[in-house]
């Protein structure tokens, strides 16, 4: 198993008026080609920060990310991101949203017809062919997220980064989306890092679950390998003792962290661990500002 992506001992500090705030400390993770890894942890623990560093949207203060032997220094389409709130351009149709990405990535290597086929193929993959000429305002939240995934897949990324992709969806839609994602994954065998809050989602989809400790100075607490056979079916797994064991392990980890948050600097940042937001640094900085 060769390492595709090496998240090598990264520290992440954000400057605040009260001095640097350490969001991540020594996060170290190696991910193999075709592996599906979930990051799970409490709100504000820095899961999104890890993802943003891998995406290149943030630069790690120490350590670095190495993809295919090359260090990541800036964002790029080979690390496509599926954002939590779809982030489709509202003035473009589903097709045009994917087209923007395809033109940018394959504009010089594919012909016009090839690009059109490729866009349609990706929309078909997420079952959105029927609504590809609709704008985001005209389709449901789940459909928007499907288009967001199609856009990311259309870039043919080496690593697909998903930031709580189904977090904003209702339970039923989320289940559909998870099944769709497993279907796509079975076909494409992408390397995926997904952030989630949802224990069932993590166990169902992942090859490995990375459990993060609470921030500040969050790091990797435990890593759980999920050795369930694929294809996985949620109904069959519900009675599977192994599945329930994995589930219990993750729950236990999260529960322990919640009751005994190992946060030495917590007093400096009141309410942070309870704030129901992802750990985007802007939010953290604002919290600090308000407290000051």
């Amino acid at each position: 198993m060769s390492v595709l992506l090496d998240i090598s001992h990264i520290d992440m500090e954000f400057p605040t008026p009260k001095g640097p705030f350490t969001a991540l400390r020594d996060v170290d993770l190696k991910i193999a080609q075709g592996e599906f890894v979930s990051l799970i942890g409490h709100s504000g623990c820095g899961k999104s920060t890890v993802l943003n560093v891998v995406a290149g949207l943030y630069q790690a203060t120490r350590g670095g990310v190495i993809l295919n032997g090359k260090e990541v220094t800036e964002p790029g389409p080979e690390r496509a991101v599926v954002f939590q709130n779809h982030s489709l351009l509202p003035w473009l149709t589903a097709y045009q949203n994917v087209e923007l990405a395809v033109k940018q990535v394959f504009g010089s290597s594919k012909s016009r017809a090839e690009m059109r086929d490729w866009i349609e193929h990706n929309l078909d993959l997420v079952h959105m062919s029927h609504a590809m000429h609709k704008r985001p305002g005209e389709i449901s939240g789940g459909m928007k997220q499907r288009v967001g995934i199609a856009r990311a897949l259309s870039m043919q990324p080496k690593v697909l980064l998903m930031d709580e992709p189904f977090g904003a969806l209702d339970a039923l839609t989320r289940a559909h989306m998870q099944d769709s994602l497993m279907e796509i994954q079975a076909e494409l065998n992408n390397t995926v890092i997904m952030i989630t809050h949802d224990v069932d989602e993590a166990v169902l989809l992942s090859d490995r679950i990375v459990m993060m400790t609470n921030g500040p100075a969050a790091t990797i607490g435990e890593i759980l390998s999920v050795d369930l056979e694929r294809p996985r079916h949620r109904l069959e797994l519900a009675d599977d003792p192994l599945y329930n064991q994995y589930r219990a392990k993750v729950l236990k980890f999260l529960h322990e962290r919640h009751s005994k948050p190992d946060v030495p600097a917590r007093k400096a940042l009141p309410d942070k661990a309870d704030t129901p937001v992802t750990s985007k640094p802007e939010v953290q900085e604002e919290t600090v500002d308000n407290a000051a």
Binding site: P77, V81, Q104
Partner: protein
């Protein structure tokens, strides 16, 4: 009224027939009620007008104003006929002289009759649109730059904040002097007075557009910016594909505000500077002081209002055409 049907359309307690009750309601809201409002205004106007005596006679009521509309149009047509006759005479005269002396080069003199009401309307419209378009060309790129760069914003913001509250009329004397000093071609393409009015309009349009564009650009959803970063869109394509469409609603809000203010300012500037246009028409009539003057000014007031309304509707229609969200409202 159909009282037996259960599901009848209701409007203010009345029961309307179920059949096309929506149409009836729409008719009442869009046609009948505005008509009632206009009629009430006309009534109030004519009653009040009869009770106001000025040194130029009674304040004009609706009928007097209507008469003047007719008169103004008549004057316009007569003026056009005179103009045509003038050019025909000139042509005939020149043809004759050429026939007598083949070496003679005919001179064409322009007709110099007084501008009619309609000419003044056209002049004002051309002025306001030119000034507005010039402002668009300056303000939108500037607004985008200011919105994109926090550094530039910090640098430019104080200047904008100081010049924004200045009435463009205060600029008028300066603009006039600067144009006189700099625009000194012997064969001018456009009149100096036109440039003065146009630049005044531009100055007043500039600030709302710069501010709204900058606010719109600076307020773009961070996720959309991240999408652009992940795609590695080059700067120009980023502006074209993400920044510009995302801020179109705010840009158009600024444009609509500007155009409304511009039209008001233009009339005032034309009055103040005696530049051709509807403002000059109003001022001339006021100085003229005939018994018809007030009615003619009132006619101009109505036309100014109506044109302002049409300009705003035009911008709204344009905004609806290009906006992807539904913020374009009345």
């Amino acid at each position: 009224m159909n009282t037996t049907s259960v599901n009848t359309g209701k409007f203010y307690g009345f029961r309307l027939p179920q059949l096309d009750s929506g149409l009836v309601r729409g008719f009442i809201r869009l046609v009948a009620l505005p008509l009632v409002g206009i009629l009430a205004f006309l009534l109030l106007w004519s009653v009040t007008a009869q009770n106001i005596d000025t040194s130029l006679g009674k304040f004009p009521g609706p009928s007097a104003v209507l008469e003047q509309f007719d008169a103004l149009y008549g004057e316009h047509q007569r003026s056009r006929e005179k103009e045509q006759a003038f050019y025909e005479r000139q042509e005939a005269r020149n043809a004759k002289r050429v026939a007598e002396d083949p070496g003679y080069e005919p001179k064409i003199r322009a007709y110099t009759g007084k501008e009619t009401f309609i000419d003044q309307i056209v002049t004002s419209l051309i002025t306001v649109m030119s000034g507005f378009l010039l402002a668009v060309l300056i303000a939108i790129p500037l607004g985008i730059a200011v919105g994109l760069s926090k550094t530039l914003n910090s640098a430019v913001n104080p200047i904008i904040q100081i010049f924004k509250p200045v009435s463009p009329l205060a600029w008028l004397p300066l603009v006039t002097m600067v144009v006189s000093a700099l625009y000194t071609t012997p064969d001018p393409i456009v009149a100096k007075s036109f440039l003065n009015s146009m630049i005044t309009v531009t100055l007043c349009c500039l600030w709302p557009m710069v501010i709204n564009t900058a606010v719109g650009v600076a307020g773009i959803d961070n996720d959309l910016v991240n999408v652009s970063k992940v795609l590695r869109l080059p700067a120009l394509r980023h502006v074209q594909k993400i920044v510009l469409p995302a801020s179109v609603p705010m840009i158009f809000t600024g444009m609509r505000l500007s155009l409304g203010v511009a039209w008001m300012v233009l009339i005032a500037a034309e009055m103040l500077a005696q530049n051709p246009g509807l403002g000059k028409f109003v001022w001339d009539e006021f100085q003229n002081g005939s018994s018809d003057s007030l009615a003619r000014i009132m006619a101009a007031v109505l036309v100014i209002g109506f044109i302002g309304f049409l300009l705003d509707r035009g911008m709204l229609a344009l905004q609806k055409l290009v906006s992807w969200d539904n913020t374009a409202t009345q």
